[in-house]
Amino acid sequence: MSLLESGDHAMERILRDWKYVFFFVAPALILYSALLLVPIFWSMGYSLFDGFPISGFRFMGFGNYLRAWKDQDFLRSFWFSAKYALVVTPGQIGLGFLLSLLYFLVLKRASRLSVLIRTLVFFPVVLPTVAVAQMFVKLFEITPQYGLVNAILDVLGLDGWIRPFLGRGDTAFWVAASMNIWTAMGFYAVLLYSGLLDIPQELIESARLDGASGWNLVRLIITPLLRPLFITSTIFSLNGTLKVFDQILALTGGGPGKSTTPLTLYMYRTAFHYNQYGYGSTIAVILTIECLLVTGILSFFRQKTE
């Protein structure tokens, strides 16, 4: 008994030793503070100024934020990002859900076919984004030769559909959106599939005995049970779609014109092409607030459902 107590005592002493806390935590914390936390506040500071290091800075107060409010390019980028997120996130999760149902209800779980399809559909998730985007550029190319899509339209005699898909803002938007959905749906399929596997088998069996099948089973049993996971997926997905950068840069470069420029790319151009550090940081701050708000609101809903 006394041995145990002294053991506990020694344990307390060792686990509270500041030298060791410092040894384990300090390296990561110092690096993290210097290169991530400090820059966040630094950017917030920049957003109150106009100029860049060589020309010097001029204090603006909230002038940059007022400027964003009236800046056509900013507003266009903001709405592009919003529209993109509102199309791509439901697309990713909706198709991901259908795929997860395919894995769960149609294919035999452990069968080789099932594993193969899951693996195949997931693969684009890990591919370098520039490679995927460049492949899509070639898929939808029109000059100097037809890309695959236009060539197939040509063969099918659908000449009226042949067009420079990436040369027009509206079609470029849809190519960008479908590329992202094509890339990411396998991810959400596996995520939701793992949620489906966690549903107690008896629950589904008894629902089936009660006569629920197919559509009703999905609607009445599966969807409500998966609600927390749907919200988690939505948070994760929106954090990707609102921050989309690589894919768009490599697919359209924001064009034609500025028609497919998301907020992230507009910030990048403002900061690094036009050297407007203050205004660039303002856009970054607005983007950050947007992401935090969306995440915060959805997390609140998730807590309520749990």
């Binding site: 390296p27 950017s43 290091p53 559909v121 094509w182 690589d246």
Partner: protein
Amino acid sequence: MRKRLFFTPFIILLVILEAYPLVWLVSSSLKAPYEFTTQPIYAFSEKLWWGNYAKAWTEGKIGVYFRNSVIVTFPSLFLVLFLGTMAAFGIEIMRWKLKNVVLFFFLAGIMIPVQMILLPLFVFYYRTGLLDTRWALFLTYVTYGLPLTVFFMTSYFQALPPEILEASILDGASLIQVFFRVAVPMAANAIFTLAMVQFFFIWNDLIFSLTFVSKTELRTIQTGLLNFVGRFGQIEWGPTFAAISLAVIPTFLLYLFLSRLIMEGLTAGALKG
């Protein structure tokens, strides 16, 4: 059985949509230059034209970009896992007042968009002379990877029964010994899963590499490929397809052997994030 039959067309369509673009990509990379103009784009080439790969690798510098990606990815990966696991151990296992505050600080980083730290880092690297060196990428990858690593590993240590580590402390082992000889070996599987996730984040990075490195000889595979298609993409389709295929191949090989682990790891990362 009828159910299977009903869904078969959908499954076939799905497989075509996923696999055919990739097959088309590789088959196009083996076409001779004249075949692009004389035949439709979906036709397979008559002979395998490996010259495209040679051109992409040497003239297009894809080989150089590969080397750069490898040089910067693996040390960053090692350090982010090492520092992150140490910090998680210090936060979760040890007992001190501010540990929850520190953990919260680390987690807050998960949601911050890259754009929020890009300009200050650019200025910082410029002033310290690290701009246009591999150090800028290395430091950034380690830092930006820390939140997820710390989060992932603290939840691992949290799930661990405390008796295991405490037993070896009572045996007289120092905390450093406990960390290296007990905690890390025990967490090996979790660390490996996390390594897969972080590998793809670092290997597939575009924005940091684009911002901090502008010398061709330092470019990584993503920025290199972007640069390549900027120069060759419109005219030289064969080498372009070859370059894209080359960028895909290492990922494909890794995926071939570790797909199950990669799928589990990446989705676990989302659930925690």
